[in-house]
Subunit: 173 residues, 2 copies
Amino acid sequence: MSKPAERDEQAVGQFVENAAMTFAEWGFSRMAARVLLTMTTSDEEALTAADLAERLAVSPPAISGAVRYLMQLGIVERRPVPGSRRDSYRLRDDAWYVSAGTIGGVYQTLADLTDDGVRALGSEPSPALDRVRDMRDFFRFVHDEMDGLLERWRQSKKDRATRDRATKDRTDS
Amino acid sequence: MSKPAERDEQAVGQFVENAAMTFAEWGFSRMAARVLLTMTTSDEEALTAADLAERLAVSPPAISGAVRYLMQLGIVERRPVPGSRRDSYRLRDDAWYVSAGTIGGVYQTLADLTDDGVRALGSEPSPALDRVRDMRDFFRFVHDEMDGLLERWRQSKKDRATRDRATKDRTDS
DNA sequence: CACAGCATTCACAACATTGTGAAGTTAAGG
DNA sequence: CCTTAACTTCACAATGTTGTGAATGCTGTG
């Protein structure tokens, strides 16, 4: 058995920044993305605002805004630290599942919005009406598919967990 | 039978701007979104850059950048106008299908990026490793699901078209 | 082959975004 | 009840983004 590779702190930092920037390009708040990735890559169960501020070398207000954003998306939970005035922040176990659901809600918004467009175009047949109806239907379709997709993801994750546990059990024996 | 509702130009304009802004919030280039929606809601098969510039009250360079963006995503096609030096731009029929595929590619990028994170964390078991692996698997999963989802959309659209044609045929008879 | 008509590129200016420092607010502990 | 430690709000400054006008390049046509 080869010796296990160790955590490469510099590479982890690069990954955090790279992934955060890719998220940001997608409309995700930049600082929130950096906070999210920092939390994802740290072994601590929960981090305080001060921890995050230090690791990212930014000021507390920046953290304040970022965690509010993340909490609104349901990705992060706030917990008071017993015996201290600090709050700590913890990633929800099902963070990706939840955030995907939230993001999926955008398709509903888009579908509703597009329905306004359908109405604005009148009932007379026209190429524009065809296109906008198609657009609306597409958004509705994707929204409807989202539920099934997330359910399959959860199932797939559960299967993997079961398999891994079985492997571990064999190893233990 | 009630008289058919007519196209409400003002409402259409509002829809264009609303939808464009929603797209923009999602990382879509603002002007590109306005161009896309304008094309979607116009009855003409194709529009020239000048048409677009006039309808949106912006300068030609803005259109230039926007259509390049849209062409890169495979949403729009450029066609020379016969008998003129102008180019015209046309929405692809399968615009939503194609663009969704392109956007789906982001999940591949994210999965690859996250795989770097997995490597950076080393092979020693740790909470961080679990989380980042989970993240990578999620992106992979969504990417893999995308194909099936788009196939189902295409099928659903085809079914609808068939049904509509049947309805029309009955009406015609 | 020169000109006319578009599209594009470039530098810039207006605008929006985002993180900082300082002041304000809340709550725990002496 | 006052002090202190944390989080938050606010105004501002730095920065990045985005569309404009002027200049440039390209292409078809007479």
